[in-house]
Assembly symmetry: C2
Homo-oligomer: 432 residues x 2
Amino acid sequence: MSAQIVSAIEYFEILLPLALILLSTKFCALVGKRLGLPQVVGMLIAGILLGLIRLIPNQTVFTESTLEGLSFLAKIGVILIMFSAGLETDIRQFKSCGLPSVLITFGGVILPLGLGFIVAAAFNGGFAGMTSHQAIVNLFYGTILAATSVSVTVAALKELGRLNTKVGASIIEAAILDDIIGVILLSLFISLNGGEGASNIGIVIGKMVGFFAAAAVVGFALHFLLNLIEKKHPHTRRLPILGFAICFLFAYAAEEWFGVADITGAYVAGIIISTVREHEYIDRKVEVSSYMIFVPVFFANIGITADFSGIDAAMVGFGFAFIAVGLLGKVLGCGLTALACKYSFKDSLRVGIGMMVRAEVVLVCTQRGVENGMINPSIMPFVLILIILSALLAPLLLKLSYRHEPLEPAPALEAVTPSEETPASADGSAQN
Amino acid sequence: MSAQIVSAIEYFEILLPLALILLSTKFCALVGKRLGLPQVVGMLIAGILLGLIRLIPNQTVFTESTLEGLSFLAKIGVILIMFSAGLETDIRQFKSCGLPSVLITFGGVILPLGLGFIVAAAFNGGFAGMTSHQAIVNLFYGTILAATSVSVTVAALKELGRLNTKVGASIIEAAILDDIIGVILLSLFISLNGGEGASNIGIVIGKMVGFFAAAAVVGFALHFLLNLIEKKHPHTRRLPILGFAICFLFAYAAEEWFGVADITGAYVAGIIISTVREHEYIDRKVEVSSYMIFVPVFFANIGITADFSGIDAAMVGFGFAFIAVGLLGKVLGCGLTALACKYSFKDSLRVGIGMMVRAEVVLVCTQRGVENGMINPSIMPFVLILIILSALLAPLLLKLSYRHEPLEPAPALEAVTPSEETPASADGSAQN
């Protein structure tokens, strides 16, 4: 009882950091938007600025207990971010996905993964005598570079009037696919790292296959259940609440029963729910409830807890090499594959440029690697630079690449517009 | 670092109880709705049922760490509940409030408060030699009975076509006022209990007056700021996010700087924001984000942590006496005052019956008293019975009281409908 009383008295202290996070993330996100940066960047910078408070002696804003509280909310936040990412996957588009997009995806995963691995190995003990554990860690650095966040590219192409083109469609399809591949690889390497190294790779992959098989079966049942409920009670709050519960259950089951990362479970739950008729309604409610507290806390918390003290000259070298292969890996991996698929040189370049943008998922992966003690926490600032650079470069380069091409009459390929770009406008609200 | 890793691995365990809470609270709330019970009752019963899991040996759902996580989310939940309660206060109605409603409010606060005090004193050591600390505790029991939740009454009167009557208007106005009085009294007694008893009553009241004065000044400034933002950027997410931040800041400032309960700060923040033009938009977003996780966790957690083991014969006697004065106190307190204000006998009775319904606020007050170690945790089941009884009795008795009266042609007093009864329908969604 007495412990509970102490907690009760202390708990209100979390309210001050929460208020500061909400105010600063929104402010920085709005400022960032004017500079053409994605929201995520603003939230991260807000977190880094808030983190400066920790340098003040005897400050009471970020105490051990408030930091623990923020970290707790951030954990729920990351689940919701991945759930949202899954929800926004347009599975119908995935079905109609052509072979070139599949190949471009693989090119855009393999090259950054390989280059990331090589750079990580070169800076972390070299290749000679690399243990299987070190190999997994180096592969994890590569995995971080696999997932693309195309919202910035989509916005840029839309502004240029080029979203409904072969380039736009390829980028959107490939970005969906490489998220899925990235999440699977992430789970795989975390599981391998958690066990006895590469020796139990059979068990890890077996469990992972088991998870996806179970998720497919349960997912089919849930698909029909949710559509049934929607038919009887359309637009009721029970649907998003059920969605949340499914997300949490999948995340829990993945981690507890299959040894697969909980964020993978949440992502898969999101993909399943993206197939039901009311998925946009559910997505809207999920977005409101996660963007009001959990998501800003997740991104700000990365900044607040960022540790710049471990950055020495070697780390700076590694960091910038990592950024370079992150950007070039996608441009070359996707671009060259597109060229091989008979895209024109300019279109190939555009696909490569469009695919190099990173945001949420790369952060989630990095944060997860840091938490599991797999990767060096000092990589985080460089990941931040990668996100900012890619978000600034991609729209600029795309604009340049279209400079001498007149706009064709607008085609009627409306279906290409991804759900990311149909914001919560049904209730008449804007996101900023 | 290692502590952080342990936390990271353990955190996913909260997802299972969260999923179970979301599923069971929604299910029980829907079942309860069919029986005419408010949502809160369903959520509490869901919590009690989930609490049975704790009886299973070696269960891993409600461990010490998951219970701590739930309790943390519940603390944020209670802040949001009180913020919502404040947001739904229609301050314009408050201004046009007639003297009879004010008098009815006072009658309906003083009698339950007095009777609650007497019953608590009779069962807890008697009146002779009562210490000032014990007096504060006994007064706190009375305070729990002060606040009314009229949503059930409003729904019943609406169904009977009697909402836009003198009775309906009086009930709505009195319910707003008694919430405010209840919250102030709650803060007062908690502060007095926290200090050296009644000896520092001057300081406590001085700080409280200081808080309300500061809140009024800051509130005026915020009112204009929010209206300015709304004018420039209507229906943007920055408004509800700013609202959340203001709520958290007020709650923090109340507790930290003025020694006033944080929930009072949140409630006052809600009242301030209820005065701005976009208050309905903000309320809708706040509701979505709180009802998706925080609020179900708050109510379910009361049930999950309910301790029935301390209930002996004396407690049962006290509990039922408490329920009786809770119901009768409001009926007599409001009814007799209404009679004195020249309401007809039947109308007076109706006002009394309408005012006896309790829900959210009584739970928040009780929970706060338990957390502060002021009141016996075993009172909680009886508060639950009080909520259920009042929610079942009030609509039934109101219906009976109108049995022989023909419905008059509908008057055009549309403005009397409280904002509670204009649900989140603007985005086309229902709450159930």
